[in-house]
Symmetry: C2
Subunit: 437 residues, 2 copies
């Protein structure tokens, strides 16, 4: 056995991911030492209750409630507590005491990222966070390093496993949202309070992290436009399928070339995607990040987005990187926000749309609708009109499914308002953006 | 404009990739400087003929035939000449004169990788080669860094765009190999001499590079089992489709747990893949690398496998990494071959198979065939027997499509030989491995 230098590794948190990280650090100690060029000695695990039941079999003497003492003198601190405080305070303490830090805390990075990266820059420490963006999928290094000589134009990510699981089952089984959600909760794919997932908050945090990195711009969480999937029902799924689409909750990070200069848009919403698009075949709770770069073209990174052991893989990769840097010395280039592009509201974004309306089945209605769209600078690409059946066979109502060319979001929403108030439109059934075309 | 330190960048070769790299280095100079933390000054381009026509508009004074003088005093040397010599000599010269090197030369790395990595280790230089493994797809950093704390179990890669283009068109259009190849040559997807692609030599080089990295083991090119796609015809494609499979040329790098200890297998061959597998939806000239890791589970990396500008993206990512290292100082951990696992011949590999036979349509033939398989330790999973139609309607020949459970390759090939010599088998139509199940 090679006689390696020892590095002291402190772990904060022993939940699903933390337990796996601790187990793997001990189980693969020799192999990790060879890879890192240093022995990674787990010196302690800070928890709230040392006697709580754990997922993994770990020696009791590793556990402590005294995180402060554990952090002092550690070379690498792994933060897997989640939440904002005290995670933020501990990370800053670790950075200021000379440690490199590894975190999977997307909520913290999406809200306090600049503060943490600045603190690390000040003292020449590194912050590793591969597990915070898309679980086990390696996306941080590709964006930061592999594409460092390229220009990212757009990222479309399926970055939340729970919502993809729900939408996928609604699509493949024709099930209703509430039924699948209940099932997902029973199976452990969704939490008792599913708000963070189904309302898109989790995806928005990841979108902020990915956009910051891809566009070298500080993206505050509240600059991310966010819509969840609770309004998606079976009839919308059926209509999407009929038109050759599938509905996915997408995190879209886009570089815009506006007349006033370059800017970016970051948004999370359910959107239609062509079934032939690589993102359409991301099933179950899997995640995928589709990247369009100026030179590299289209790339996709696919894998498990969550799960204790999967996320532990990403954390350990970061720990090995941190150890290699400790051995090699030298400080990397910090998180760059040199570009600092303006972030535009969703109203200034251009996409195509599918608008489904119920209208009076009378002569001239289509002309009226087409006129309102045209006045609103929304150009029609396709129209499909069908008669809505009623019990007595004479509903007097027709259904219009209108596919638009690319239009400005603001124009589109103004136009939909005008349609709703026009007198010929009975009901706006759905308005969905179409991405990836 | 920030006043950055200047790094001298020398480029060897100005073909499709080299011209793009030179253009992008100049075009995005300011942005690259911000990303790298240093100005990347292209000091010269070594070529055989300074007056040859180039793909990009580059100042004539950059070109030189004197590679030796160009290399001396350069901080970063980019080798895009291809071939073994003089590329090998120039790379070693660059390393020994203190430069970090970037190369896209898979033939060179697959044959002289250890020599080049050793030379770099000796002097503390780095060798970057993201573009050598799967074109623009970032796969080196994920394998080397992101998965450094995990254990790769298996890689299945579609790593040759030409053969994927041919097989995909055969599959989707029902076309014959020769016709699609001729078309691919006309369209520039295949070279006039297509041997390197269609016989699997290019894929084998990439397999050797990927396996070396994933398993920390020196994998010489001649340890890679290699079969091409020239024997794949329309009838095999049709049969695969009928059975729910598609045929892909796969580079398989696998960790084996044999009784005698761990070992690896590296092989390139056309194989059947279930249509629901993510690799099955890789169309056209695209590439994808599917990675199964112990903790991370299944990951897939997808993108353009070749092309001048796409490959240039990967090269520039490496140049930025090299520059960051120059600024930061410190030496990374070298290419690790610490594991040095034994590489086993393909005969010791276990996979499942689809065997298609034409047999006499007589009582007892299936029993005889089943008996030979059983004696050969090949267990049958599925059998489909159909009568082969002939002009007069009575061919007396039946077609047997046998799906096997996992069997040892050596057992399988011995068994197929015995079947061929058994007297009841008229013809062994095809034997294809099934991967990804």
């Amino acid at each position: 056995m090679t006689d390696y230098r020892r590095l002291r590794v402190a772990l904060l948190g022993a939940g699903a991911v933390g337990s796996q990280v601790a187990s793997l650090l001990r189980q693969h100690a020799d192999e990790l030492a060879d890879r890192a060029g240093a022995r990674l000695e787990l010196v302690g695990i800070a928890v709230r209750d040392v006697d709580a039941k754990r997922d993994a079999d770990l020696p009791r003497e590793l556990f402590t409630t005294d995180a402060d003492s554990l952090i002092v003198g550690s070379d690498i601190v792994i933060e897997l507590m989640g939440g904002i405080e005290p995670a933020r305070a501990y990370l800053l303490q670790a950075i200021n005491s000379g440690a490199d830090v590894v975190t999977a805390n997307k909520a913290l990075l999406a809200t306090h990222g600049p503060e943490i990266f600045d603190a690390a820059d000040q003292v020449g420490a590194e912050v590793y966070y591969e597990a915070a963006a898309a679980g086990a999928i390696p996306i941080i290094r590709p964006l930061r390093d592999s594409l460092a000589g390229d220009r990212v134009q757009r990222i479309m990510g399926i970055v939340n496993g729970t919502t993809n699981y729900i939408l996928d089952r609604m699509d493949t089984e024709g099930a209703e949202f509430d039924d699948v959600l209940a099932d997902a909760q029973r199976l452990g794919y969704a939490e008792a309070d599913p708000t963070a997932d189904v309302e898109g908050y989790d995806a928005a945090q990841k979108a902020a992290i990915l956009a910051s990195l891809a566009f070298h711009t500080t993206v505050p969480l509240d600059a991310v436009h966010r819509e969840g999937i609770t309004s998606i029902d079976k009839s919308m799924m059926d209509a999407a399928r009929h038109a050759g689409y599938v509905i996915k909750l997408l995190a879209v990070c886009e570089r815009l070339n506006e007349a006033s200069g370059e800017s970016i848009s970051v948004r999370v919403y359910p959107a239609l995607i062509d079934r032939a698009h690589p993102l359409a075949s991301v099933h179950g709770a899997n995640n995928a990040v589709f990247v369009q770069a100026e030179a590299a073209g289209n790339l996709m990174f696919y894998g498990a987005g969550a799960g204790g052991v999967q996320t532990a893989s990403a954390v350990l990769g970061d720990v090995v990187s941190a150890a290699r840097r400790h051995i090699a010395g030298g400080v990397g280039v910090g998180e760059s926000t040199l570009a600092n592009l303006p972030i535009v509201p969703v109203g200034r974004v251009t996409t195509s749309y599918q608008i489904t309306l119920e209208v009076d089945d009378q002569p001239g209605v289509l002309a009226t609708v087409a006129g309102i769209l045209s006045e609103g600078r929304v150009s029609i690409a396709t129209v499909e009109q069908t008669v809505v059946e009623s019990a007595d066979g004479e509903s007097g109502v027709a259904r219009l499914v209108i596919g638009t060319h690319k239009a400005l979001e603001q124009d589109l929403s103004d136009t939909v308002e005008r349609l709703a108030a026009s007198g010929v439109v009975e009901r706006v059934v759905s308005v969905l953006r179409v991405e990836g075309n």
